[in-house]
Structures are given as structure tokens and as C-alpha cells.
Amino acid sequence: MRKLSKAINEMIISTPSLLWLTVFFLIPTVSVLLISLHPADQYGNIMSGFTADNFKRLMEPVYMKIIWRTLWISAVSTLVCVVLAVPVAYYMVACRESVKKCLLIMIIVPFWTNFLIRVFAWKAVLNPEGPLRHWLIQLHIISPDTLLLYNIYVVLLVIVYTYLPFAILPIFAAADKFDFSLMEAAYDLGATRRKAFFKIFLPGISSGITAGTLMVFIPALGSYVIPEMVGGTSCDMVGNLIAERVLVGRNIPEASAWASVLLMVIIGLLGLRLTYIIINNFRFKPWDNGKV
């Protein structure tokens, strides 16, 4: 009796969030997947019937190149973000409580400015007529015909700039919980600072690193504004293609097919992470009563 009422209680409590997920996540996702399987007429309207043509078009070399570029830009910027975030977090947790708070606020403050405006600011800084390029040319760091804007490196730079806090925050949270007496134990057992960092600290904050990786990689995959504004045509990512298909090409099914590709990459990644967690939790069970 009590068990039943508890189950009912849990259902009532979880209903709003389930409803939210259904309405705003499940239904749109499934619709996108379904639409991507419909053919389109020449005006881009969704027609009845099912076809895999939209996906076949993705296999064309031009498009494969864009998918490939999207993946590597996201991967590289994620790597850079995490590699920068770990030492920042390591330094932050060693600070006094008040300094720690200050640093946290400084990391969060940029969010108070609209994202578009921040990207515009980069555009202003890196502008061909801007002061930065001027100085760099005068100091002979770049040649006079080099543009700072509209190349793949700027896209990487601005993506890293935008998503770095998303890597720092979860990694900081994990590092803050990390028990630093473990580092002392490692030194005591003969480990150098370097060894202790890689063998004890990094595995100790692995949950933060995975969270940070996903927090950067997933939004980076869907980048649209950044390559659009600072990247130029040679830097198109899947996000730009989707926008182009919807706004210019007016081909909703094909746009959906592109979106589905991103979705599947993300779902695949989350699936991997879930499998990892499950395996990790059960890995040692079979040996519990067994031999070495």
C-alpha cells in the first residue's frame, strides 16, 4: 500500500519535468528526424512519402568536407578549452576562499553581455582597419597582406573564447571537491609533482573533464553565428548549411537531415558516456569473490 502511494507520488512529482522533456525535446527531435525522411518539392515544401535521398545528398564530397570540418573544429576547440581549463581550475582551488569567489565571478561576468555583441566585439578588434592588425603589422609579426578575420583560426579562437567558461566551471567544481591529501600521499609514495598531477589529480577530476568536454563539444558542433560572422565562406560548418537550406534553399527536409546528423553525433556521444558509466560501475563485480 505504502509502496504504491510512493510510486504514485514519484509519478506526480516527475510529471512536470517529463512533460517538459516531451514537449520541448522529444517531440521536436522526433519531428526533425521524421521530416528528414520526407521528400521535398522544388519549392521546398514537405511532401508525403518516405525517402533516404536527403541523407544520400550528405554523402556528396562537398558536404562531407563540411561535416568533417565541423567535427574537427569542434574537437580541436574542445581540446583547447579543456587543456586551458584544467590548470585554471587547479590554480583556482588553491586560492583563498575570497579570491576563489572573485575569480568565479570574473569567469561568469562575460555572460552578462549578449553573445552576439561579444562576437561583434571580436570582429571589431580583428577588423582589417582595426588597431590590432595595425600594430601587428608595424611590429612585423604579420605581413601587410594578412587578414586577421575570415579564416579557420579565428573561428577556433572565438569558439574557444565563447565556450571556455563551460569547460572551466565543471572542471573547477570537480577540482574543488578533489581531496588534495591524495596528492600528498602520492608525493609521499615517491611521485614527482608531474606524476601526481597526471596519475592522481586528472583521474580524480575525470567527471568534471567529461562534463566540460560535452559542454563545449555539443554547442561547438552546432556553431552557426561564429563561423557566419568571423569565418567567411571557406569556414562553413553544418550550422551554416542548415541555415542556408532553411533560409535560402527553402528545403526543410534537407535541413532536417543535416540537423539529424548533428543529433546523432551528440546522442552517440552521450550513449558512449552512459555505457562508460555503466561499465565502470560494474567492472569489478565479477572478480569480487574470485582470484587475482
Binding site: 600528498e184 609521499d188 609514495l189 614527482t192 592522481i200 569489478f284 582470484k291
Partner: protein, 388 residues
């Protein structure tokens, strides 16, 4: 200073707080040396200085004739069993034990066989592939021990290794630890706040209080001949008497007039230079006092007092008597005294041999509060201060 491991004039401050002031002692090779003291007295800090995890403001640490004060932790031939064990949670027991040899880059084959050996020693072979979180407290403690010992340290530092365990397990682990020490024969520095642990396991004990060592010596000496009121009260139970020397009878004894106890003078053992008129403080352990319902036989070196019962507490293995003599409450602890319980006399004779009273070198009133029950009558307020 002789000895295998020596601390020479170690001082340490954290901010304005002095945690260690001019601490010196040395540990003999192959012995178990205990640092005993209440929590916050600086034991862990001293151990961390030895491990290299903290550096002293002044003073040196000498190990086997070499000055190791400025060595980094990983270059010191000492290993630590930490208070919370500090096992690596993401590694299996096997990997935890193998950590030292691995960073030492010993050959793989050798590491494997060594780890097996130590797993066997702590009887954890069947748990080799568990994570620390899956083990009980006692098992973790053994893993921490194996993880330290596999590096063949010259000195093993143990920081309250048994504090996290329950009483029964603590007693068993203490015996295991002692046997282990006999087997491997390396030097142990054992930190604890538990006097019975320190007493039972150590060859030598240093009693610490507020960053200084109050007394150092074999456990029996510390218990039987405490030099300070702190040591007397912290280790075991005791009675404190305040008095004045009235007469030096010969080289070894003096007569002392005790306050609060009428005109009676006590004969007290005395190995210091004292003069008549000196104020002294005396400690006598409750179990060193004989108690009887009949007057005891007299003896030249025996002090005999008459008092009446305030309270009797039966404790199973012994009985505790609170006896009032004059204005002083004296605690007495005796075994086999059921007859005294049956008879319920109200008067008792107390007797103790002059050798069992110790004149303290160093006395502080505050130390009386360390006793389970404060055995001195509270001072009556003076007349002028009396409130309505």
C-alpha cells in the same frame, strides 16, 4: 644527538599561531616511538615535517646521519600511513599498492610479485581488484599499510592509524601492527591521542602538549614517574595535592605539609634539590593507594590517612572510592574489594608508600581539568565577594 631519526630544535608557526616550539627528540633504529598528545597539540604537523609535506621554520631533521630537512617528500626514504588513509579512489587495491614501485620504475615482473607478496601479508589477495570504497575501515587501514611498506621505507610514519576504527577492531589491529613491526623490524613513528594505544605498542613515548614535548621515555616510566601535571593527568587518572616542604629527612625523601588536609605531614619521594619552605605539587595514582576498613600496619615510609566515604563506584574490574580527608577528595581505585562494598563502612584508612607520591617538576592548575572528575574541592568564595 644520537639516534637513527632525530628532530633538532624544530619550530613551526602557522600565521601567528605557534604550533611547534623548539621540539627535539630522537628515535632509535627499529623501535616504535609514539607521539602522544591531545588533538591540536602539533603531532600531525611534526609527522608532516618528517615526511617533507611541511617545512619547519627552524630546526633540522636528521635521518641515519643525513640531513633530510630540505629534501622533497618523494626523495625521502620514509612513508606515511595517513590519518584518513588517503587511498586513491580511482585505483584498485592492487594498483594502490603498486603505486610506489610503479613511480619508482621497478621492473613489471618484480612489481607484480611484490604486490602479491604484500597482498598476502595483509590477507587481502581476494580483494585485489576491488576499489577502496568497497572495503571496510579495517581493510583500508591494512591497504594503506601495505602501500607504504612496499617501498621499504627506513621509517614508517603512522598518523592515528586506528582512530577511525571501532574499539574491538582497534585492539585487534594494534596487536597486528605490533606483530608486523616485529616481523619487518623497521622504525615506526606512531602518532596517537589515545594513551592506551601509545602505552601498549611503544618502546618510547613522547607526551606532547601545545607544541612542546612534556616528557619522553618508556611507557612505564611516563606512567609511574610523571614529571608534569599535564603528563600525570593526561595519562591515566591521578590525585593532585598542593603542599609545602617542611623538612628534608634524608637524600631521597622529604616531609610535605599538604593543604586542605589538617596538620598531617606526608613523606614523599624526592629526587630533586628542594628546601624547606618550597611549595610543591604532588601526584599520586588512585591505584597506588591502599584502602582498608581497619587501621593498616605502620611503616616508616608509609603515609596513613583516615577519611570518610563520599562515593563508591563499582566498575566491574575494579572499584573506585571517593574519600574525603579534610577538605580534599581523594580518588582510590582497587580490585578485589567486594568485602568493602558489602560492609559499607563510612570510615576508611588510606595508606601509600612514600615512593608512590611524585613531586611534579612542572605544575599548571589548568591540567586538573583533564581529570575525569576534578578532585579538588572548589575554593570557597572569600567573604568580601560573597553575593546575596
Amino acid at each position: 644527538m644520537a639516534g637513527f631519526l632525530s628532530f633538532e630544535n624544530i619550530s613551526k608557526k602557522f600565521g601567528r599561531q605557534t604550533v611547534l616550539s623548539d621540539v627535539s627528540f630522537s628515535v632509535e633504529k627499529g623501535k616504535i616511538f609514539s607521539l602522544l598528545g591531545p588533538s591540536g597539540c602539533g603531532k600531525t604537523t611534526l609527522l608532516r615535517i618528517c615526511a617533507g609535506l611541511e617545512s619547519p621554520d627552524s630546526g633540522r631533521v636528521i635521518l641515519d646521519g643525513k640531513d633530510i630537512t630540505d629534501l622533497v617528500p618523494n626523495d625521502r626514504p620514509v612513508n606515511t600511513v595517513f590519518q584518513n588513509y588517503a587511498l586513491f579512489p580511482h585505483m584498485t587495491i592492487w594498483e594502490n599498492i603498486a603505486f610506489g614501485p610503479r613511480v619508482d620504475k621497478r621492473p613489471k615482473q618484480e612489481i607484480a610479485s611484490e604486490v602479491e607478496k604484500y597482498l598476502e601479508m595483509i590477507q587481502m589477495t581476494s580483494h585485489a581488484y576491488k576499489k577502496p570504497a568497497q572495503l571496510s575501515g579495517g581493510m583500508r587501514q591494512r591497504v594503506a599499510l601495505a602501500r607504504a611498506l612496499i617501498n621499504h621505507p627506513q621509517v614508517l610514519l603512522l598518523d592515528e592509524p586506528l582512530a577511525a576504527l571501532d574499539l574491538k577492531l582497534r585492539q585487534r589491529m594494534l596487536v597486528e601492527l605490533d606483530e608486523l613491526h616485529d616481523k619487518i623490524g623497521i622504525t615506526f613513528v606512531y602518532v596517537t591521542h589515545d594513551q592506551s594505544e601509545a602505552m601498549s605498542i611503544s618502546d618510547d613515548v613522547a607526551v606532547m602538549n601545545r607544541g612542546i614535548i612534556e616528557q619522553m621515555g618508556p611507557p612505564a616510566e611516563i606512567y609511574e614517574a610523571p614529571k608534569s601535571s599535564f603528563v600525570a593527568a593526561f595519562i591515566g587518572d591521578t590525585n593532585f595535592f598542593d603542599g609545602t616542604v617542611t623538612e628534608i629527612t634524608d637524600n631521597d625523601y622529604s616531609r610535605v605539609q599538604l593543604e586542605n588536609m589538617g596538620n598531617q605531614q606526608m613523606l614523599i619521594f624526592n629526587d630533586r634539590r628542594l628546601n624547606a619552605g618550597d611549595g610543591v605539587h604532588v601526584s599520586i595514582r588512585p591505584e597506588k593507594i591502599d584502602i582498608s576498613a581497619e587501621p593498616p600496619a605502620t611503616d616508616r615510609k608509609k603515609n596513613i590517612l583516615k577519611g570518610h566515604v563520599e562515593d563508591i563506584i563499582y566498575m566491574g574490574n575494579s572499584t573506585k572510592f571517593w574519600i574525603r580527608v579534610g577538605r580534599q577528595l581523594i580518588s582510590v581505585q582497587k580490585q578485589h574489594s567486594a568485602f568493602l562494598l558489602d560492609q559499607k563502612p563510612i570510615r576508611f584508612w588510606l595508606a601509600w608508600h612514600a615512593d608512590n607520591g611524585y613531586i611534579l617538576d612542572n605544575y599548571q592548575d589548568a591540567d586538573r581539568s583533564l581529570l575525569p572528575i576534578n578532585v579538588t574541592e572548589p575554593q570557597k568564595p572569600e567573604k568580601g565577594h560573597k553575593q546575596k
